[in-house]
Assembly symmetry: C2
């Protein structure tokens, strides 16, 4: 099943999702905060949501699905943009499953082309290797996209929409950098909040 877009509106509601950085050594919790940011196209922030996923855990797909389904913005959203297909280390988001559950097309974006062989090796030291690797393969092929003139191309993996529509959505919503504004801002918010947490736990040690 694929969602077909008759036209990509300038103010298409897009949700960008990213996690905060975490320090392996200092961490007091196994959970990492994940932030979702709703934008109207590449221009206006409309809403914010959050959830938590386990470092190297298996709950990312389920947690993201619940976060979106429970949000008051769900009905407005037309597409979800992820910063890659892993959160909190190797907690893999199965983008096909995400699409199937929410009926919302998903675009996973990366700035660098990941080395799949290296990822596969890293996964082998974790439990549930088969399921993780399957979710990674499930994300499908890596497609190069030029979102803005004069900046580096990025790579996308998609679920639930046509390549040509995904490309148009990325181009229309990448107003400030080479990634959608919702994703750029989700990264800033998640990092900003994570930093304070680190400081706090530092204080209390």
């Amino acid at each position: 099943m694929t969602v077909k877009f008759r036209s990509i509106k300038k103010e298409i509601r897009i949700l960008g999702i990213d996690d905060g950085r975490f320090e392996f050594r200092n961490r007091l919790s196994k959970l990492v905060e994940v932030i979702g940011v709703v934008y109207r196209g590449g221009y206006w922030l409309d809403g914010v949501m959050r959830t938590e996923v386990e470092i190297d855990g298996m709950d990312a797909t389920e947690k993201i699905t619940a976060m979106i389904a429970n949000s008051p913005h769900y009905n407005q959203l037309r597409v979800v943009a992820l910063n890659g297909i892993t959160l909190a280390g190797f907690n893999v988001v199965d983008i096909k499953k995400l699409f199937k559950k929410l009926r919302l097309p998903v675009i996973a974006v990366t700035r660098e082309k990941p080395n799949l062989e290296e990822i596969r090796k890293a996964l082998m030291s974790l439990p549930d290797y088969e399921r993780r690797w399957k979710a990674i393969k499930n994300a499908g092929k890596m497609i190069e996209v030029c979102t803005r003139i004069g900046v580096k191309p990025i790579y996308m993996q998609i679920a639930g929409l046509l390549e040509v529509d995904a490309e148009k959505i990325l181009c229309k919503t990448s107003t400030r950098s080479n990634i959608p504004e919702a994703l750029r801002v989700a990264h800033i918010i998640a990092s900003g909040l994570a930093q304070l947490k680190e400081k706090k736990s530092g204080d209390s040690l």
Copy 2:
């Protein structure tokens, strides 16, 4: 002392500060999350910071000062916009003191003109009445400003800059509504994060 602006740049770095809502009945903590959002004018989100202040406490001025002074954005900032001069109930921000400590002009914005007599009465039931009332009086007169054509005027109180400059800053940065974009977005983020906290504490009860 007053900071004089030679010109107000379209991308002037402005920090908008707001707190999350809180439920008096359900609250498990005496602290309320406060979010600061850095914008380039009315257009691009540049950073996020956060702190916590006590409900009806006396620490807002100090906490906000520390949050800004410790931020990597401090040197870039030209002005601070507050959603009114109270956070977390009646935790009053002394905008004159804030300006004095940071050398950053402050504009406190409200959509409705507050009833000072009602506020004074409410304050009388709290400890440190004199200090709170002094901080409120310290914020100076309420000035009506039309930030956008065809929308309701708002009210500002200012510290450390000229009325005419404050007015220009509000007009240039209120791109989406009648308040600066940094303030509109700080409100959305603080509310979005607070909602999840409420849900979580609800779950655990």
